[in-house]
Symmetry: C2
Subunit: 364 residues, 2 copies
């Protein structure tokens, strides 16, 4: 087991990474203000891992409520959140109950937001079961739900007490979701760690083959970067750089996700295509060479990810969707671009013509 720490004063918390952590009740119990938890999972993950998690907790004398939700990004909404609230009220959960998110990013975001809002705030624990959630969404405290007009529009910053990244859960992850997680892994290399990018290029086939050792390295390095960025800029208030740099490819990616309809593209897939647009735009601003853009495209392709802009999403529609993005400041688009491979920058002066051309040139 490897352990990292997210340093946030009184809200600091550990991330444990390793095999079979799910069943280690001893890692969880010390964090419970009262031996009562509500485990929130979905219909895909629960049959695989719920009992592995709950049996040791029950054996340790913890009262466990199970809340099983339907699986999918389309359920990341108010109605599903209310299913959680109803269950918590029915089971008389209160501020000393700990919520445990067992699942991917959707379960983590829903559970975290439920924890932030229920009775104005409960403790919660992240047990991410997808690569994407392990390297990104379970760390950093961003929680929330989607709104018909935009992704993650409603939410809160709410830090977990603990993150348990059990690498064993990745053995049952579908290939497409493994790839989606690799998009975020590669992102850390692109934005702040050129040598990790090189490592990814050398090891992408091992990662695709779910080599346990390679995955552990990738998760630990990713969480290290995420924790460092979040510790410096918890609430994404830095006027430049900071947490915003984690959004490389995300503004374009969110436009794809929303424009194509939630659930059609996986988040990581949209981010991958978005990162190619960001790289292409960086080339147009004179920061990357065409060869470097190709290097990005090639690595993402080897990781099983799409690199082309969806043919049916027009540039006009994409720009309209991007204008609703949370990262718009004072009406001005603040994009994350690459000064070089391994160094990102937030940039608000990209000419619209260049943005349009970058999207067009990435079209399939």
């Amino acid at each position: 087991m490897r352990t990292l720490n997210v340093s946030l004063d009184s809200r600091s918390y550990p991330i444990h990474i390793g095999p079979s952590l799910l069943a280690e009740a001893a890692l969880i119990v010390p964090f419970l203000p009262r031996p009562q938890v509500a485990v929130i999972s979905n219909t895909t993950i629960a049959p695989l891992y719920l009992e592995k998690l709950t049996a040791p907790l029950l054996a340790a004398g913890v009262r466990v409520t199970e809340i099983i939700l339907p699986d999918g990004e389309v359920y990341k909404n108010w109605e599903t959140l209310n299913v959680i609230f109803d269950a918590l009220l029915r089971e008389r959960c209160d501020r000393a109950t700990t919520l445990i998110a067992l699942g991917g990013g959707v379960i983590g975001d829903l559970t975290g937001f439920a924890a932030a809002c229920f009775q104005r705030g409960l403790p919660f624990i992240q047990v991410p079961t997808t690569l994407l959630a392990q390297v990104d969404s379970s760390v950093g405290g961003k929680t929330g739900i989607n709104h018909p007009r935009g992704k993650n529009m409603i939410g809160a910053f709410w830090q977990p007490q603990l993150v348990l990244a059990d690498t064993g859960t990745l053995t049952t992850l579908p290939d497409r979701e493994l790839s989606a997680g690799l998009a975020e892994v590669i992102k850390y290399g692109l934005i702040r760690d050129g040598s990790f990018l090189t490592w990814c290029e050398a090891n992408v086939e091992r990662l695709m083959a779910r080599d346990a050792e390679a995955l552990t390295v990738a998760i630990e390095r990713s969480c290290f970067h995420k924790a460092e960025v979040v510790a410096d800029d918890e609430r994404e208030t830095a006027s430049s750089g900071g947490r915003a740099l984690l959004n490389l490819g995300h503004t374009f990616g969110h436009a794809i996700e929303t424009g194509m309809g939630y659930g059609q593209w996986l988040h990581g897939e949209a981010v991958a295509a978005g990162m190619v647009v960001a790289a292409e735009l960086s080339r147009r601003l004179g920061w990357l060479t065409a060869a470097e853009v190709d290097r990005v495209r090639t690595l993402l392709t080897r990781a099983g990810l799409p690199t082309e802009w969806p043919a049916t999403l027009t540039v006009d529609r994409a720009l309209e969707l991007m204008a609703h993005d949370k990262k718009v400041i004072a009406g001005q688009q603040r994009l994350v671009l690459l000064k070089r491979l391994g160094e990102a920058v937030t940039w608000k002066d990209a000419p619209e013509a260049d943005i349009r051309a970058a999207i067009e040139s990435c079209r399939g």
Copy 2:
């Protein structure tokens, strides 16, 4: 104009109290990260005060979006919150937009929770127009909505940037709501300020007659106490005392509000009847004399408030509702009781038989 400060490190904020503050755009503008606000009000208050607030803002070059909601506690729910979100998205509001709550406690709670959740957090300003909101709900950062199973079950701690308590708005307040506000004013006397309680007894008729000077004293003294308590215990985490003491009468009151159906009893009315039960229970524990309980009952009656438990709400049902209250810790009822007039205490050892008897003896 009188000014108090709520001391919460980086989240500190001023409370201004006085006549005609609504129209003082100069008090608001310095707090706006961008000259753009969304004013949230209701169909009762907007015709009276909205233009008084917005005209000077518009003259100062501030872009103003108006969001007018239906009036009433029954609308303090997710559907109404979504009306706010829809309008904010339609008007392309973002993290630099400031929300302004113009109205009573329902508008303040809805607006504050919208500010807490929209894009994971916007700044907001409270402009309370009821006595209850001016002396209680606009100060302290508690925001939220009701759930069919309980009041304020979903919410957040989210502090405003500024509170403007314009005493002029109280001239149009219905008598019943004025009285409801006085319940909370009297509460501050009961829980931590015996001399203020005596002042209330001497001045209750002036307050009922809306004597401007008396109201200003009552609001300032109330906000002083609220600010001091909140500064010591922002998130209601103190294991005893602290912010919980503000809940004198509230556990019983919430049972009345929920049990009788939202909107039948005003919050302040339910708190008044709840404070009488708390006083009666305190007598049974040997802390108050029967004469002191009568003193409480008499003052509340002079303030136009109900002091009898509703005849149709059974004790069994009340205890069931109270078990769902957020102030239940580890399944144990933590009540706020009076050690003497002017000193409250949180108490978890009140025997159920005494709780039942106290409610029964207050029945109409």
